[in-house]
Symmetry: C2
Subunit: 260 residues, 2 copies
């Protein structure tokens, strides 16, 4: 399979390396930033490309892995004969590629990537959508080269996954950041919380979150909640978040216990 | 060392088992619920006690591991000759034990415990506070039997740890719960997010949260944020949380980049 990578960020890098390791042929890497194209092309044994007009029109798979607002412009500047064009966004619909070429799709890996940290893509779910059943099948086949957890879904479902991922990853990391802040103020190391964070994520690997919720809000322990809110008096933003999140836990429990 | 356990919940259970495994002598277990006292006493080779008046007055360490609002009443009903009396709460001060007996302290394990899931306490930080330097030393010694991460801190610091733990554990698990909810609505399995949750917690073991934040709010990617908010139109509570948390990420980045 001949693959062209358009983009050189975290997703392009991880996908490129995984396809390379799976024995696929990355022929070209384009990036707005040529130095980065050069670097990634070097890592995956491809040719670095500085202009979209020099992209080979006969590849099998074109992967656009760039910010959502750049997808359409790049797509419109490609000449594709028979290959399949995909983007990797959780939020953009399949329809953002409408009219550009016949065979289009989405290839969305549900993971958070940092450039420096290797991720085993085999365990990463990849959400696939194709413009036709045949394209879906082809993309499922292609994704199965690098992941054992390929799932086909429509754009509405994928968007829900993306919003859910924002809660489960981005907002979660922000919870860690706020905790870090509170410790720093008291000259305490974040190491105090690392085992707790680890255990919280570990539990969820084999349980549903509703079954392992703990803490003052779950117990509706008003005296502890009031004390915590008082401690946050100097942090109006954290105080508000503490209140809203505690209330959300209380409401969620009521709904799930059939009390609301 | 002779230890008396007052309480039979998750903390009492995990501490009791860890002390037992470390070769310490748990002599008595009291609980408001005698069946639970019986069960835990059986597990740690102690005598189950139904009335506080039957608690041995000559033990070395008395551990009250109950809800915060019950600590004082239990403490007042104990007769202690020379032993040290501690509670295990993150939020209650050392002073909740004032006047009950001479030697008092706090023994707060920074972890989330479920009864059914074993936790390796050796890796769990234990925050220690003693009414005197000697008591602090004794409690550090005692805690070191079961944990490699014993740290002495005052009540103000411990409260900060507890609030931080609410963010890093309880609110984090609630983020998982909300994500679970969003997937369920689209008939999608929570398995889609488990590797992402794992990776997010794994990253933080060797990085500070500020350095690994990702997502639309970090990038100030307004078009994705607006799309996500629209998707949450039917969930006013989730929509509000999405907005507040995104704004909090944006503000936090500005402060940490010296822009605010």
């Amino acid at each position: 399979m001949e693959i062209v990578l358009l983009g050189s960020g975290n997703i392009a890098t991880h996908l490129g390396k995984a396809f390379k390791m799976a024995g696929q042929n990355i022929t070209q890497v384009w990036s707005r930033n040529f130095d980065k194209a050069l670097e990634l092309a070097d890592a995956v044994g491809a040719a670095p490309i500085s202009s979209l007009t020099n992209i080979n029109s006969k590849a099998d798979l074109y992967i656009i892995a760039v910010n959502d607002d750049a997808i359409r412009t790049i797509a419109e500047n490609l000449k594709i004969e028979k290959g399949t064009l995909v983007h990797t966004s959780g939020t953009s619909g399949l329809n953002i590629l409408d009219g550009v070429t016949l065979n289009t799709g989405v290839f969305y890996p549900v993971q958070t990537f940092s450039k420096s940290k290797p991720v085993d893509l085999r365990l990463v779910p990849v959400a696939i959508e194709g413009s036709t059943t045949e394209i879906t099948d082809f993309l499922v086949y292609a994704a199965s080269r690098i992941s054992e957890k390929v799932i086909s879904m429509n754009s509405v479902q994928r968007r829900a996954v993306h919003v859910a991922a924002v809660f489960a990853c981005n907002f979660t990391n922000h919870m860690y950041a706020l905790a870090h802040e509170l410790l720093k103020e008291q000259d305490l190391s974040f190491d105090l919380l690392r085992p707790l964070i680890w255990e919280t994520a570990l539990k969820i690997q084999t349980s549903d979150p509703i079954n392992v919720q703990t803490g003052p809000a779950l117990r509706d322990d008003k005296s502890t909640i009031v004390q915590h809110l008082r401690l946050l008096d100097n942090h109006p933003e954290l105080k508000e978040l503490y209140e809203k999140l505690s209330q959300s836990i209380i409401n969620y429990e009521k709904i799930n216990n059939g009390l609301a």
